[in-house]
């Protein structure tokens, strides 16, 4: 089935009457939601402009983290059409690995040059660690199920998520754990808005990673193989592409990004918990869906949007507040899936037989 599915873009043909009606419902629904959003944002902007800018900056910072995780979901979904539920937990393992690497194995607890060097080393180590685990997961569990009905790999992914959470419980303990951080903790003020150094470091690490990912996927031979495999595995194989190797490479890329996100999260927030991956994974997945799953730029855009919306909801005077944070994100997810399943930048896909 999977191989017979093709992606076609709706061009001239506007669809049957039902489809047209559905489209109209979707458009009006999207417009109403957009209008409500603008109203909400407008009231808040007038009421507390500085605070608005402040929470937007904080939201963007979280959004960058979500982007790194969301890319892992979107890469894997793009190539084998599997929602890798274990990806969030891989991120959690990345955070745990970084904590151990910096604090316990290399004894760095303060922000000094030695700490910064360890931070950079930990970045590469965590990326390597998570990339390897992700490749192993694919090799041991998902590869065998590549041609099985969809339910099977999906359930396996859920099981894998539980397995990684178990590793998390054993490694971290069942309660949240506080860690010292080695990155600089100062801050500076631009027009009344406080920007912490942590935010700058996040941007400094995440932006090159995102850039190099785009480069790898769009410009290198390996990236071309990835795109070909995503389009049609059998055709790619006939063209001499090693499909297994390409899929492994994709998992390695996604894992590496999750590892980097784990380090950045651990160093900016300072706490780790075994179920961290579940919460952030779901938010990241929502971002991927919002942007259009399978689309790399979409994942980054979606993640930044979700980060900002979450930041606004948590920090603005007229909002539901932090305790409803999860519900807000999932409501967005459900609305997107109902109104525009293809996401903001995704292509409309139709199932062909």
């Amino acid at each position: 089935m999977g191989k017979l599915k093709a992606t076609i873009e709706a061009k001239k043909f506007t669809g049957t009457r039902g489809q047209v009606r559905r489209k109209r419902i979707e458009t009006s629904g999207a417009l109403i939601i957009a209008a409500l959003m603008i109203l909400w944002l407008g009231i808040n902007l007038i009421k507390a402009p500085t605070q608005f800018a402040q929470v937007t900056v904080l939201g963007l910072r979280n959004g960058l983290l979500y982007a790194l995780i969301a890319l892992g979901y979107t890469l894997v979904y793009g190539i084998i059409e599997l929602i890798n539920f274990a990806h969030g937990d891989l991120f959690m393992l990345g955070a745990l690995f970084s904590s151990y690497f910096i604090t316990i194995w290399f004894h760095q607890e303060n922000s000094n040059p030695a700490g910064w060097v360890t931070f950079v080393a930990a970045l590469f180590a965590a990326m390597l660690f998570c990339g390897t685990i992700n490749v192993l997961i694919e090799r041991l569990a998902y590869r065998k199920l590549r041609r099985a009905p969809k339910l099977a790999p999906l359930i396996t992914a859920v099981g894998m998520s539980f397995l990684l959470q178990f590793v998390g419980i054993k490694w971290n303990g069942s309660t949240p754990r506080q860690w010292p951080t080695v990155i600089p903790h100062g801050e500076f003020v631009i027009a009344g808005v406080i920007v912490s150094h942590v935010t700058l470091i996040l941007i400094l690490v995440a932006a090159p990673l995102l850039g190099s990912l785009t480069f790898v996927v769009n410009k290198t031979k390996q990236g071309k193989a990835m795109r070909a495999t995503a389009q049609d595995q059998d055709a790619a194989r006939l063209m001499g592409i090693d499909v297994n190797k390409t899929i492994s490479f994709t998992f390695a890329l996604g894992g590496a990004l999750a590892g980097a996100a784990g380090l950045l999260y651990q160093q900016s927030i300072g706490t780790t918990n075994y179920n961290l991956g579940f919460q952030l994974g779901l938010i990241a997945f929502t971002s991927a869906v919002l942007g259009g799953i399978g689309n790399l730029n979409g994942a980054v855009l979606g993640a930044l949007l979700i980060g900002i919306v979450q930041g606004l909801n948590d920090g603005l005077p007229i909002a539901l507040g932090q305790k409803w944070s999860q519900s807000v994100v999932f409501t967005i997810l459900i609305l997107i899936l109902v109104l525009k399943p293809a996401g903001l930048l995704g292509k409309v896909t139709t199932e062909k037989v």
């Binding site: 009905p149 359930i155 859920v158 894998m160 539980f162």
Partner: protein, 384 residues
Amino acid sequence: MVAISSQRKWATGYLIAVAALFITYQFLFPWDGLPMGIYDTLQLWLPPTSVNEALVYVICALGLNIVVGYAGLLDLGYVAFWAIGGYCAGWFMSEFFHMINIHFYGSVAKAAPGIHVNFWGVLLIGGLVCAFFGILIGAPTLRLKSDYLAIVTLGFGEIIPQIFYNGDDIGGFNLSNGTKGITILDPIPAGIKNIGPFDFGYKFIVFVFLAFVMIFISLRLRKGRLGRAWLAIREDELAASMMGVPLMQTKLAAYAVGAFAGGLGGVAFATHVDGVYAERFNFSISIFLLAMVVLGGMGNVWGVILGALLLSWINSTGLPAFGQTFNSRFGTEINFPSFTFLLFGLVLILMMLYKREGLIPESRLRLILHEGDPEEDLSPKESK
């Protein structure tokens, strides 16, 4: 005919097991003449609460089996229905809404404040409210591809418990008493006797009855027109719709029936623990239930029951009891209950990799699940 007589055999076995357990817990357990050794062993390895809890899981797993096993729709947010059912029990069977005084064949004195609806009525209310929510969430989302559907249900399963968790102040209204939960539910009226929270034996009979109702519903539906439509959709959605099966209605029906069972299970669970607590309704419950369905055999009622009994017992009693015995025998201090994550994860992964059809496979499903395996012989086995 073979199938029917084997089912009759199962039903007889079910009744015998039920009678044996009931006699054990109702008469043998409180009996003074029971040797201490046997009493302790039973209390450690098979306490009455664990049996009752397992039955609640059976009720819910059978409901999830209709959605996942029969119709082939992955639902990762089943706990939402459980929570809604539980809160229905909390609202309609306690003194929680103490500002009003509504009685409907309740089992407490007429003067007691709050809403007091008869337990059997609450079962129906809980089931129907859940079915309504099942349709509400299903109607816009069931057109989505299976993996998107899984995510929507997952989101639903996160939102609903959070509403109850934060529900002590929704615009100034106390909907759910937040983290404190709603405690002390009305006893279950059963003719001559009111079954209180500690009447494990009689509550066991009530749960057995509910499980029996679910088994009956599952078996009958599967044989009927709707059940065959579900199986057709599970096997090939496109082919089914070409044959005239209305996809949306059929899927919605699966959702509604599954949610109804979740509501029953929720009410039953609330009476089992004598209260509802928001933090108990978390994601892992959805996965536990999924693991039960997968382990036993998706689509096979008896397999699902076996899976539910086995995993629920391991989770509530087996692992802690084994850990206690192991640790005292070998002088170790291993925290065995923390291995549940490993266990449930491994069950899901290994079953999917090596025995996708479950412990008690359903013959039709076996063929579908192995579609695409190159070395597998797909020809149907001759039935004996």
